[in-house]
């Protein structure tokens, strides 16, 4: 079974530039999550989709971050414009059903460095 795919693995940009990350979840998984992991911290949920609808985006900085999951499969997370504090690993995860009893499967992450 193929795992969660993410790209790019690494990205270096200047502040105020834009960047986009892509995620393809495990086939058949209805729920998709984007987490931000800053060095030395645990992952923090940015946004959670159930199919193509948003379940929770309470911690997404909506003035600069956006995410979509068209057709309820793959997803894109965008940052525009980037700030220095956005340097982090962006983890995508998926689960068969909503979180409450399910296990999350994580991709390898996309590491963003903002200079």
């Amino acid at each position: 079974e193929a795992g969660v795919a993410q790209s790019p693995r690494y990205k270096i940009i200047e502040k105020r530039q834009s960047v986009a990350f892509w995620c393809n979840p495990i086939s058949g998984h209805a729920t998709l999550y984007w987490y931000q992991q800053i060095l030395g911290q645990g992952p923090k949920l940015l946004i959670q989709f159930q199919n193509n609808g948003v379940v929770d985006d309470s911690q997404l900085p909506k003035d600069r971050f956006s995410a979509e999951r068209l057709k309820g499969v793959d997803s894109t997370l965008k940052i525009q414009p980037a700030k220095l504090e956005d340097s982090a690993v962006y983890l995508c995860a998926s689960s068969f059903r909503l979180l409450s009893t399910g296990e999350l499967f994580f991709g390898e992450g996309s590491r963003l460095t903002v200079l």
């Binding site: 645990g42 923090k44 995860a93 979180l99 409450s100 296990e103 999350l104 991709g107 992450g109």
Partner: protein, 110 residues
């Protein structure tokens, strides 16, 4: 609000020695608790989970964890550590969403 505390940022153990990683949670009801492991450059992998029932749960790679409601703890243990266990370990609780602790980095001495 739900939260998870991992008191130890970094732990070093000798190969073959036993291991215990501490986790304390804050949650009003019966929690769903997890331990995940993250190897360098990798995503997180589930080690074990607790939903209800037996308070001692077994996971993959020889890990186990014990849920103690009276202490609000869910400590991870392994009787004999292998060099390949060196990684970052995250405790997490479900409170509407999966909330992670800050992680404990495990180093293994030969």
């Amino acid at each position: 609000a739900q939260s998870v505390t991992q008191p130890d940022i970094h732990i070093t153990v000798s190969e073959g020695a036993s291991l215990e990683l501490r986790c304390n949670y804050s949650y009003g009801a019966t929690p769903y608790l997890f331990w995940y492991v993250q190897s360098p450059g990798q995503g997180l992998q589930l080690l074990l989970k607790y939903f209800s029932g037996d308070t001692l749960v077994q996971g993959i790679k020889g890990f186990e964890a014990e849920f103690k409601r009276s202490q609000s703890s869910f400590n991870l243990r392994k009787p004999s550590v292998h060099w390949s266990d060196a990684a970052e370990y995250f405790c997490a609780v479900v409170g509407g969403k999966l909330i992670f602790g800050q992680g404990t980095e495990l180093s293994v001495k030969p």
